[in-house]
């Protein structure tokens, strides 16, 4: 008997479904990946376990005090968390900030500028003052990069998707110009990158390469959660996000809110850039713009814009990135394979989302001709 599939909107989103669908999507992605791995002659189970070990380490390693894998995952999770929070607050009010990458780069640039040049310009400054100043510079520069499209959107209705996207490239190329050109380390044997910062401008590390940026990320999550659920401003943001027409009707100045939210969003991304240069690279170089700001968009969506969700998803996505890198090394798989697996997992997870809102119904078609009464 012929039948067809039909999507029907769920009237209520159930909690169980919201839990089962991502789990099912993940399993499907793993099965899909397994077929793929098998086809290139790799053992899927061994590959997956290598990924997990690469991202979290093994109990044996832990008992020996070796937390390298886990800390590397946390290192990657840090900028993803901060940028994920940054874009999610903007997305909350339907402002599509896809410029976190550029805001991060500008934050790193400003913090780097302070670390590179301020010690020479103000030698009388105490060393403890540098990190706060760098954080401030990072936040202000990121915020400026965020406010610009905010102002354009709020007052002349320029599409923010275009402006935030384009500003990314300006920021990235500007930074490249500096470390390839005027700010290049003269003692760097021709390698692109600035000189290393003075050690007192480095963010203290907690364990392995994990630095204070992780603390910033967790504080930022608390801060965003507090704003959204406990303040008048958060109420306005939620109202604008749910229904901008109703928000205007309630007397809310939407333009002003766009600018304020983009200050916060850009500022957070800028802080992530500061944490990267002060916590990891200790110089301005190529490794700053590696796509954290873009991956953050996926983090925000998978987390459904919930601040605590962002923290969890950023960690898991970082594990996927680190674990994926590991299988290139330990399994000798081509680099592309790791990306394919990462892509498959994201594809299935995001695609599965539709099932939390719709259900599939099988519609059986009866013969088209009417049945005669007997």
């Amino acid at each position: 008997m012929p039948f067809s599939l039909k999507l029907e909107k769920r009237l209520e989103e159930s909690k169980i479904i919201a839990f089962l669908v991502p789990l099912g999507s993940l399993l499907l992605a793993l099965v899909f990946g397994a077929i793929l791995l098998q086809s290139v002659g790799a053992d899927p189970l061994r590959t997956y376990s290598a990924m997990i070990e690469g991202a979290f380490g093994t109990p044996v390693q832990w008992t020996q005090g070796d937390f390298y894998a886990l800390t590397e995952t946390l290192v990657k999770a840090t900028p993803l968390m901060i940028c994920g929070l940054a874009v999610s607050i903007a997305f909350r009010m339907l402002f599509w900030n896809i410029g976190a990458e550029g805001q991060l780069v500008m934050g790193g640039f400003a913090a780097g500028a302070v670390a590179l040049w301020l010690p020479g310009m103000a030698p009388w400054l105490p060393h403890w003052a540098f990190l706060p100043l760098m954080a401030l510079a990072g936040i202000v520069a990121g915020a400026a990069w965020g406010i610009l499209p905010g102002l354009l959107k709020a007052y002349v209705k320029v599409n923010e998707i275009i402006t935030t996207l384009m500003l990314n490239y300006i920021a990235i190329l500007w930074l490249q110009y500096l470390y390839y050109g005027p700010w290049k380390d003269p003692k760097g044997f021709g390698f692109p990158g600035t000189a290393q910062f003075e050690p007192f401008t480095w963010l203290p590390r907690l364990i392995g390469r994990v630095h204070w940026g992780l603390v910033f990320a967790l504080l930022a999550a608390i801060f965003i959660w507090l704003i959204l659920s406990r303040t008048r401003w958060g109420y306005e943001i939620r109202l604008i996000g749910e229904n901008p027409v109703a928000a205007r009707y309630a007397g809310i100045n939407i333009g002003r809110n766009i600018v304020l939210v983009m200050f916060l969003s850009g500022g957070l991304a800028g802080l992530a850039g500061m944490a990267e240069v002060a916590g990891i690279s200790h110089r301005l170089q190529h490794g700053l713009a590696v796509g954290y700001g873009f991956t953050a968009i996926i983090v925000a969506w998978l987390a459904k814009l919930n601040p605590w969700g962002v923290v969890v998803v950023a960690f898991l996505l970082a594990a996927l990135l680190v674990g994926g890198d590991q299988i290139q090394i330990t399994m000798g798989l081509p680099a592309a394979m790791a990306s394919v697996l990462q892509g498959a997992i994201l594809f299935f997870m995001l695609g599965g989302n539709i099932l939390t809102r719709y259900r599939v119904r099988i519609v059986r078609s009866l013969p088209a001709e009417c049945t005669q009464e007997g």
Binding site: R230, Y249, L366, C370, E373
Partner: protein, 532 residues
Amino acid sequence: MDRSDRPPAVEMRGIVKRFPGVLANDHIHFAVHAGEIHALLGENGAGKSTLMNILSGLYRPDAGEIWICPRGQTQPRRVDIRSPRDAINLGIGMVHQHFMLVPTLTVAENVILGLKDPRFLLRMRHVEEKIKQLSRQYHLQVDPSAYIWQLSVGEQQRVEIIKLLYRGAEVLILDEPTAVLTPQEAEELGRTLRRMAEEGKAIIFITHKLDEVIVFSDRVTVLRAGRNIATLDTARTDKAELARLMVGREVLFRVEKPAGVVCTNGEPPVLEVIQVEALNDRGLPALQGVSLEVCSGEIVGIAGVAGNGQRELAEVVTGLRPVTRGRVLVRGQDLTNQPPLRFIEAGVSHIPGDRLGMGLAGNLPVSDNLVMKAYRREPIANGPFLSRRAVLSFAQKLIQAFQIVTPTASVPVRTLSGGNLQKTILAREITASRDFASDHRRVLVAIHPTRGLDVGATEAVHRTLLEQRAQGAAILLISEDLEELLALADRIAVMYEGCIMGVVDATSANIEQLGLMMAGETHMTKETADRL
């Protein structure tokens, strides 16, 4: 007309349709004969639209059968309608409340849109000829080569009807067809329906207006809470009986209204609109020099066919739309082109026409929707913070005072019924104007406040508006329901193409006179014409 010798053109037997939590159709039996106009009457949520959506192929019933007996046959047969295409192939078509026309195409192009024939060569002349013939046959005046965007709402409705006739529909379903028409256009529609019935077509029209049932229909089926309560010959019933069947109790038609205050006791008007001009969303002139005054304790009604500037007027007096000329004064204060917040703080409240589009944020809880205007003030606001406890207790207070039916204050507001959505807005707006205005001289702007509401909820809204009037509020009431305006308003202004055609005293106005003004005839020209 003896119907007993022929089976019904359409018979729906034991139709059941469930939506989560609601039994929309509960074993409904419904039959319509060729040659009759059959009204389907019921309150909102009674299941009328669900039943007709099943017949026209948009929904599938959970149980029940549909039998049809095409013209010229004597044996009915059971059919399975899976899509609107199936329905139209069986000769069943529906004119929806929101028209399904492409504005940038011509009438003829719209009529053949979606048809399989002609497959390759399109001979528009042929199509236009057939449309002209149909429009002559049924007195549906329309120019086949006109573009849809050039047509009035009434003409567009005719195009929708022609679309069905062109497809050979024998059973025509019209969903609240008169909601968008002037009284004159409605009368014309009535004549067209009669003509089609005489030609042997079966006409079903969905309505909740009792007058239309009496005037237009041969028979009437009353639905209540998903069940068929009665099917009657219209000639053997009356409005009172139908209303009782529809609501399940006696209904009073007249609202008791004490005499109003006259605007001449030296007190300046609370709301003044002076020579205001404004543009609509497309940048075209929507208000062209409108002047209006509303005094304390007065309801000024605005009548007019939708789209003649009423919405823009409401937005101008609430600060949502800038004016290009003229002034808006509230309590003597010039608020021209001030932001909406200034209007709110001056004590202007607004009950918008689009409840979920403007008045509420559907996904947010009832409580968040109730504090939409109070959240800036203590005790709900605590410095920059929001006191969650104060939000909930404020919401609880309003839910009780205005008898909003909701499981808790934290369910998404969109899950409430239409009547309770409106009560939520009323509760918030009346409380807000009371809190913001320093005295009784506050402004209430209400747009279609009872549209889509059942009789019970309508009564509640009317009572609330009259209470506010008694307390001294200046109320601007925009409505398409002339009965409502005549019952509630002290004065009625009629808008046509962005102008006020005239202001009449509600006690001396009649529907015919208002209808003429709504169609663009001014009060004056008619009188002068009579005199000449």
